[in-house]
Amino acid sequence: MTGGAWLCLLAPLGGTSLITLCGTRIPRVAAAWIATTSVFVAFGGAVWAFVSLRSQNGHRGEFTTAWTWLESGNFHAGLQLFVDPLSTVMMLIVSGVGGLIVLYSIGYMDGDDEERRYFAYISFFVFSMLLLVEGGNLLLLLAGWGLVGLSSYLLIGFWHERPSAVEAAKKAFVMNAFGDATMALAFFILIAHTHSLSFVSGFGVGLSPTAVNLVALGLLGGAAAKSAQIPLQTWLPDAMEGPTPVSALIHAATMVTAGVYLIARTHFIFEQARTVELIAAGTGALTLLVAGLIALVQVDIKRVIAYSTMSQIGYMFLGAGVGAYSSGMFHLMTHAFFKALLFMTAGLAIHALAGEQDIRNMRGLGRLMPFTKWCFLAGALALVGIPPFSGFFSKDSIVASTAALGTWYGWIFWVCGIAGAFLTGLYTFRLWFLVFPGEPSPFVREHHHKHHGREGAWTMLVPVGVLAVLATVGGWLQWSPQWHPFSDWLEPAARTLAVAAPTNTQEYYTSVATVLAGLAGIAVAWAIYSERKLAIPAAPFWRRTLEHKFWFDELYDAVFYKPTAAFAAALRREFEEPVVLQTGPDLGRTTLETGGFVRRIQTGLLRTYVLFLAAGAAGVVLAFLIAK
């Protein structure tokens, strides 16, 4: 079991090292296949770990330590993996979906002259993500957390000659560094009180209420930064500067959902700090609405999907925040399928249109790319949550668990969830109606080109097909009112709180409400964008607000970046240069000036010297006389 975990972790690292060390001595396509193989080997390891964990009674999990990574005083943190139901689920998702996306990249990145670097980075990302989910203590989790941030930085800025890509990469890294910092502060509190960061059961128990609230807040800060939740969300849309497979893997399927994993993993702490946990849920509810609204006005196909990702992660936060960890995790899994699918079909479209991303130019693409069209539709229906597509099963149980709370905020969450479903239907099918149906626009006719007579290389089409199937049937694994093997599997690691366990009635009426809301969204999109029966409300102020993404970027620029830069510049101008750097020379100059003054006594005239001598002697004599 632990062998599988180690294999899973180390195979992608081996892939990275091999590609880096071989450099230009291997052909590009070899680098691509090394990366793909290494990630599929990791998937094999994950399956091995999963199967052997299943065959264990009670499958509570097992630690395995390679060596002590960091040790000081009575604080130890091993290079330690933790194989339990939660981490095996994540391992399977990360390496499985990751493998498909890396395979897809072979076709997508074909012809880029820095392909080897891309594949080294992407297998490094898979390694980091696996370290994050397998790490057996919070310190290793943080290490993985930082390394996924690093690989995300490297991959967003992959086309480093584009200034916008470099800026986006830096922004993503810095906002995540902020999250890392709050998490580190939370760990310091834990270390000060318990001397340990290990996941052994019941860690963090026995802290004072203030301490545990602060720890939970710190963790929430990290989770919100990584998962692009308000107020740390602004980096995610910009991150779409990276290659599309990167958006699919990092900014949809795996890394951005790490915040949900973190809450599920540290639920011991969040349950002791129930207020903070509900703040997490509230953050999710707010984000799912705000992101859904912003998605309505975006015109870049990848940005629409990016906002949809933020919105869906909002659902997961909502689920994990109210205490329905397994529902949040289940949505994480189905979301990985359908969102990766959406990004990859968008990638097919972008590829076929030679890099065009503006949806206003794409009308009628479906006629030329039927496979892409149907796969996109499967992903879109799963996203909106129409049965029997996968999103229906996972999203509804999250919304139902808010109903189970039965408190006033529970009902607010419930309404947000339903409203979010409506928005999801609206923006998803806005995208659909603008891009796929109808007669191809002149732009599409002019720019569309086929790849060897197909819609893309087989390495791209196969993963899309597999994910389309998964996005359709992946949800059947669990329909919480009737069968729930997924929740049962996760129960030893993250048991759903009793307050967040909905009754079957709640499940049913919530399902009806969300499906109706989603269908309503689709209908409105159809009326506006396909039939043009409804006009878009003018409301220029609201439109501008949405186009400016509620002015978060402008706000942060004005409140954080500009003052810091101005303060640093002022320090340099007003203090460093005149005071610190000049003190030495000033002291030197003062010494010289004093010397220059004393120098005037040295006239060079013998008689002056003698006079001083005589005066000195007289002075001494006088002094002796007086003293006597």
Binding site: S72, G73, L142, A143, R162, P163, A177, F188, Q582, G588
Partner: protein, 484 residues
């Protein structure tokens, strides 16, 4: 070979090498090779020392002692503790890389140059192993002579100004330290660091601390730093920030904190405030610097502040983290300055506005600078992350706000390091970057790759240093008991 003579060999071997190089009338190539050979032999002896070091034993190891001036109770007394052994290792490895760099770029007046580099190696090792205050002082000052000449002769356009500033700042500090040493020695009847008693005198503590905060340096005693780091030859800047600065921090640990426990707790908040100021101030200025070396120079100021924060936290985690971070940052800044030198050789400038786009077609340069940059900004999982984490966790036990300031500064570190990386490697090609500017050559790779490999090894096993610097479970207790 007797284990205890290893310590003396580490000091005197390079000095003997320096004298040999000054005497023998060899060609430039032969001189460089001989110097490199000596510095590699030095690394070999250090490996031998590390292999023979017994981490399960407390107290001073590989000790040697001989009376020097008997009537003043001054003796030539050297030996190593765990933490000093790591710093000696940092010194010999970094000096070997820098000597190699001088050989690679072919410094003129080679006999003088390589002799001085070897002399500097010996003197710096001497600082880290001296166990008698006068011997410590002698080596502390002896470091200055080669540096003075190295910056003043082989430096950039404004080298004289930089040299004079550097020397006067350091001399001012170390003369006060000499006064403090004499006062301490006369009062306690011995200059020995191992057997000497602790002292409660605040004045003596301040005398020592002034020398160390200038050397380290901490805000606001860093007036010499920007000029010296910019004007010195790159390999000398590398030594200055990677190794020499650590001598100041080592002094804080070995002398100021260990010998003056009461004044340390009396001035703790003040020193922590200075250290935090250095951390934030250095990070902010690094963020506004417009050239490669400026960023690295101010980030070194910030790192010195961080390490001082760990040392003066006075907790187990703080001490371990500080030692780990000294070694990690030493390797990082040495390699970064060497790469700065490589970039400047190709483009004639380190100014960001003339640089950019160097990643395209230069994979080795891009990979190494990127790796070093991200380790330097303490990306979680790296050796410097481990060090900073321990330091901040350690100082958290003193008061939470120090850690909060430190965490904020780490976000700033991400900002300035990424700015450096992008300005050199990314976006449009800079006006001074010629198409035919080469990637790092094998000679340069041979110097930087071992340092980076060392950092990666430390990233995989930071406990190798953090748990092998002080004897016993509790570093704080070890410091309190004078490392006995």
């Amino acid at each position: 070979m007797n284990a205890s003579s290893l310590t003396s060999i580490l000091i005197w071997l390079p000095i003997a090498g320096a004298i040999l190089i000054w005497i023998l009338p060899l060609s430039r190539y032969a001189t460089g090779s001989l110097a490199l050979l000596f510095s590699l032999a030095e690394v070999g002896f250090w490996i031998e020392q590390a292999a023979r070091f017994d981490f399960t034993r407390s107290g001073l190891q590989m000790e040697e002692r001989a009376t020097w001036f008997g009537d003043l109770h001054v003796s030539y007394h050297v030996g190593v503790y765990g933490f000093s052994m790591w710093l000696v290792g940092l010194t010999v490895v970094a000096m070997a890389a820098c000597t190699g760099y001088g050989f690679w770029v072919g410094r003129d007046r080679s006999r003088a140059y390589f002799g001085l580099m070897l002399l500097l190696t010996g003197a710096t090792v001497g600082v880290f192993v001296a166990q008698d205050l006068l011997v410590f002082y002698a080596f502390f000052e002896a470091m200055l002579i080669p540096l003075y000449v190295l910056i003043g002769v082989w430096g950039g356009a404004r080298r004289m100004e930089a040299t004079i500033k550097f020397v006067i700042y350091t001399m001012a500090g170390s003369l006060l330290m000499l006064a403090a040493i004499i006062a301490y020695g006369l009062k306690s009847g011995t200059f020995d660091l191992v057997n000497g008693p602790t002292s409660a005198s605040r004045w003596l503590f301040l005398g020592f601390m002034l020398a160390f905060v200038i050397k380290a340096p901490l805000f606001p005693f860093h007036g010499w730093l920007p000029d010296a780091y910019r004007e010195a030859p790159p390999e000398v800047s590398a030594v200055l920030s990677g190794v020499i600065a650590k001598a100041g921090l080592y002094g804080m640990l070995r002398i100021a904190i260990a010998k003056f426990p009461d004044p340390t707790s009396f001035y703790r908040t003040a020193v922590l405030a200075l250290a935090a100021a250095a951390l934030v101030y250095g990070s902010l200025l690094a963020f506004r610097s417009t050239d490669f070396r400026g960023v690295v120079a101010y980030s070194s100021l910030a790192q010195s502040g961080l390490i001082a924060l760990g040392l003066f936290a006075g907790t187990d985690l703080g001490f371990d983290g500080a030692v780990l971070q000294m070694v990690a940052h030493g390797l990082i800044s040495t390699s970064l300055f060497l790469i700065a030198g490589a970039v400047e050789r190709r483009t004639t400038t380190g100014e960001f506005r003339f640089l950019g786009g160097m990643a395209r077609g230069r994979p080795a340069l891009a990979t190494l600078l990127m790796t070093l940059g991200v380790i330097s900004l303490a990306v979680p999982g790296s050796a410097s992350f481990a060090g900073e984490f321990l330091i901040l966790a350690g100082v958290f036990q003193r008061a939470w706000w120090w850690s909060a300031i430190g965490a904020g500064a780490i976000v700033l570190a991400a900002m300035y390091m990424l700015r450096l990386i992008s300005a050199v490697l990314h976006e449009a090609r800079g006006s001074t970057v010629a198409d035919e500017a080469l990637d790092l050559r094998p000679g340069e790779l041979a110097l930087v790759v071992p340092l980076v490999a060392g950092l990666l090894f430390l990233s995989a096993w930071p406990a190798g240093i953090s748990h092998h610097s002080f004897f016993g479970q509790s570093p704080a207790a070890s410091v309190r008991s004078q490392f006995k």
